[in-house]
Amino acid sequence: MTAITQSTALWYASRATGVVSLLLLTLVVILGIAVNRQGRLPGLPAFAVTGLHRSVSLLSVLFIAAHVATAVMDPYVSIRAAAVVIPFVSAYQPFWLGLGAVALDLIAALILTSLARARMPRRAWRGIHWLAYAAWPVALIHGVGASPDLRSGGLRLLAIGCAMAVGGAGLWRLTQRAREMPRAERAAAVLAVNEPPGSPARPSFVPDREAR
């Protein structure tokens, strides 16, 4: 194989793994929202949803690693290894690749904290996990800007589809959170359903006495 063909193969591999990574990340976000909302997949127990969320996220790590490795190894464009994690230091397309590095850093934080989640404070883990809603759009924008692939044809439809899926699910997640019953009202809500009909607000339950 000539150098240019080798380079072309690596270049195609990087683009292909990039698209797959985007698809997998889309799936991860949607599964994550499903876990949070206690959603179920038909015929599967609850632990399958969390299991899938975890498995797909680890799979996406593999594809992101391949995507990044092939891009660095490709001699045709100059992308040094450091540019993978440090944003905006690449010689080639510093801005768009920089966004990729940002997305990768965020995803690395998500993955590392999730691997250690039993050993860190609950609130800290949750706070960092919210960064997923930042990581995904950054990854998408990186994909749209770094190569023309997602800007035309079938892949454009794919990108739009993923954006709509994540956007829709994310919006739904936020509205559900907004509509969640505030803690202070929960007991009252349950009481309202369980009180006998016609109970006054300040009850005095002495019944009507039988005729004496």
Partner: protein
């Protein structure tokens, strides 16, 4: 080493994974919240208990050293 299951009822939002992953010890009450056994976790179930702790989406379950 004796281990005991404990749940943080404030963090728990009734996902129910723990009861799926450790049905020998954990059942759900009629509102979907876990009822934990009082005593120590049998040795043979330690692995499953650790998985249930790791998989709880709310990080509400813990395996502690029995007091």
């Amino acid at each position: 080493m004796e281990r005991q299951l404990r749940v943080n009822p404030i963090a728990c939002s009734g996902h129910g994974l723990c009861a799926e992953l450790l049905p020998e010890l954990i059942t759900l009450d009629e509102w979907g919240y876990p009822i934990l056994p009082g005593g120590p976790v049998p040795r043979r179930l330690h692995r499953h208990a650790r998985r249930a702790v790791a998989d709880c989406p709310a990080l509400a379950l813990a395996l502690t050293d029995a007091a």
